[in-house]
């Protein structure tokens, strides 16, 4: 669609407004990257004139002298996020397909129950789960984290994949069945390859949300399964705060989701709106 074009002055004003918003949007990112490259002497002095150094990243990663637990947090984030996504896929793909292709008793309830997980305030589950985890020995464990992260990943996987399945004409499967394929073969050989880009996008998006989660690891882990989001905050709480180290840790915690997001730009609108808006 086109809007009637405002005059040249309007165009300049619009460009200026855009630049203003993006200055606000990107300045914090520039600031944190700059701070992470500053030496201890520079971190509270001049703003953008300094000799950049990678020392903070070396310290955070434990490459220099001293030992750093940061890599352990990184691994914990990775294990919990990948684990949560895998469990959601194995359980979610069949459920999403059933919800897209059949009407069956309770399918609506199942979908809406999953969606209510997305909108439920987390502590409603965390408080009793914390007590139960202590009793079951799941507190501060990967298994416990992967289970609770289903609240984040599962609704996403089922709702978005269902919207991809409903986009496919059911005639595809019917044709395959007429050709003598079994239901399972029709699904694996015909349907699944067609929604593969969708499945990949959902995987990455679910991973990003699991990785970025804070309240679950913050309340249900203490050390072994602690993730980077929790440790980033812990850095700030130290008695002798090194802002440049905090910044380096923050940059590294943000990098994985940011890089992955580049691959799913096309599906972002559908993903973030749970299939409600398709671009």
């Amino acid at each position: 669609m086109t809007m009637d074009r405002p005059g040249k002055a309007g165009g300049i004003l619009a460009d200026a407004a855009l630049l203003l918003y993006f200055a606000f949007s990107l300045a914090p990112v520039v600031f944190i990257v700059a701070l992470s490259l500053k030496s201890n002497a520079d971190q509270t002095s001049t703003y953008l004139r300094f000799a950049p150094t990678l020392a903070n990243y070396r310290t955070v990663l434990g490459l220099g002298a001293g030992d750093s637990p940061y890599l352990r947090f990184f691994v914990a984030s990775l294990v919990c996020s990948v684990g949560a996504v895998l469990v959601s896929l194995v359980i979610g793909i069949p459920a999403a397909y059933a919800a897209a292709r059949y009407r069956f008793r309770g399918s609506e309830s199942l979908l809406f129950t999953l969606l209510s997980f997305r909108f439920a305030p987390e502590l409603v589950v965390i408080i009793p789960l914390g007590v139960l985890y202590q009793q079951l020995g799941l507190y501060d464990s990967y298994v416990g984290m992967i289970w609770v992260l289903q609240l984040v990943t599962m609704p996403l996987v089922v709702w978005i994949l269902r919207s991809f399945f409903t986009d496919l004409p059911p005639e595809l499967e019917q044709a395959a069945l007429l050709d003598g394929y079994s239901r399972r073969q029709a699904f694996v050989r015909i349907v699944l390859p067609l929604v593969r880009p969708g499945v990949a996008a959902v995987c990455l998006l679910a991973f990003i949300f699991a990785w970025n989660n804070f309240i679950f690891p913050f309340t249900l882990t203490s050390s072994h399964a602690q993730t980077v989001t929790v440790s980033s905050l812990a850095f700030l709480g130290g008695n002798q705060v090194r802002f440049n180290l905090v910044a380096a840790g923050a940059v590294m915690a943000v990098l994985p989701p940011l890089v992955l997001a580049l691959f799913i730009q096309r599906y972002l609108v559908r993903g973030l709106s749970f299939g409600a808006v398709k671009s």
Binding site: D15, T44, L111
Partner: protein, 337 residues
């Protein structure tokens, strides 16, 4: 929604009817079990609310509705409810206005716009807690950029997030920084899928920009924007990460929202029953609001389906009494992806 009863599909191999009827249930069983596994602790938590269970009191006794009368009669609850609603309204409003504005500006597809559009989602991928940490550093008078920027435009006496008003203001700013792109990309998807002809007709009739926006763009865009508004408003009601990271609910209890309050009760002081009572009250409110909003969204989308050229694929409306919280139908774009 394209559903086919299993019976409508001619099957190549002859499977008995009862197995065909059973298939969807088998496919959905693992997901149902997972829901049960998540709902079980929830109901355990609901049971806490009628006991006086805490870390100090591991042998709790039944107290009936005492927790509810206690908490509903306390200033703590009403204060944190006011903070929560104020935060949700302020943040959602700012994000909606800014997001739609940015989408309108990007829609012009100038060279600058196309360059910047690639960077639009950068803040959205930052974990909320990390966003809070970043802004905490930026706001520090001795480290960050906010003080010198304010000084440059003649504002002095800046003291970070010290005051109650400042703490609330900056919490909203951080939320807006993070989530304005969310509203913007949904609004942009909507703008790009609107039909051309009404706008051409308006241009022929000599309607100015403002009239076109008010009478055409905004009403047609509303179903898209509403999805974003609902997501943002519901998320703001349970805000935790951004406030905890930035102010930890302070100064005093100035930014103590309902979830921060429940966190202090249940985790910091290990008073499980009281914390759970807080959360149950919040949960009921969230549920009620989402129900109202989703009914409204359904009406808006049905109206939009009447006037838009594109086909609307939607899920059947939830049966009355079915749990709500979902976009009732899918807004079908006209396929320009």
């Amino acid at each position: 929604m394209a559903t086919t009863g299993a019976a409508a599909v001619p099957s190549g191999t002859v499977t008995p009817r009862w197995r065909r009827r059973l298939r969807p249930y088998l496919l959905a069983t693992p997901a149902v079990l997972l829901c049960v596994g998540i709902l079980y602790p929830f109901f355990v938590g609901v049971a806490y609310t009628v006991y006086n269970f805490s870390d100090a009191n591991r042998e709790p006794s039944f107290v009936g509705l005492a927790n509810f009368t206690d908490i509903l009669g306390s200033d703590t609850l009403w204060h944190s409810a006011r903070v929560t609603v104020a935060f949700a309204v302020a943040a959602t409003t700012v994000e909606t206005v800014l997001g739609v504005g940015v989408a309108l500006l990007l829609q012009r597809s100038t060279l600058l716009g196309r360059l910047l559009e690639r960077l639009l989602i950068v803040p959205l991928m930052v974990a909320p807690i990390i966003a809070a940490i970043m802004w905490k550093l930026i706001l520090l008078p001795e480290v960050g950029w906010v003080r010198p920027i304010l000084a440059a435009v003649g504002v002095h006496g800046y003291r970070g997030t010290d005051g109650a008003g400042a703490a609330f203001f900056w919490s909203v700013v951080v939320d807006a920084w993070l989530y304005t792109p969310f509203v913007a990309i949904l609004a942009l998807a909507g703008l790009r899928s609107l039909p051309n002809s009404p706008f051409e007709a308006a241009a022929v009739d000599g309607a100015n920009w403002w009239l076109t926006f008010r009478r055409l763009t905004l009403p047609m865009l509303w179903p898209y924007v509403l999805v974003a508004v609902i997501f943002r408003f519901m998320d703001c009601l349970k805000v935790f990460d951004i406030i905890y990271g930035l102010t930890a609910g302070g100064p005093g209890d100035a930014t103590t929202t309902l979830q921060i309050n429940a966190y202090l009760e249940a985790i910091t002081y290990a008073r499980y029953s009281r914390g759970m009572t807080f959360m149950l009250i919040l949960w009921v409110v969230v549920y009620a609001i989402s129900f109202v909003l989703v009914r409204y969204l359904g009406r808006v989308q049905n109206r939009a389906a009447g006037i838009s050229a594109g086909p609307t694929a939607g899920t059947p409306d939830a049966a009355p009494g079915a749990p709500a919280g979902a976009p009732a139908g899918a807004v079908a774009g006209s396929g320009a992806g």
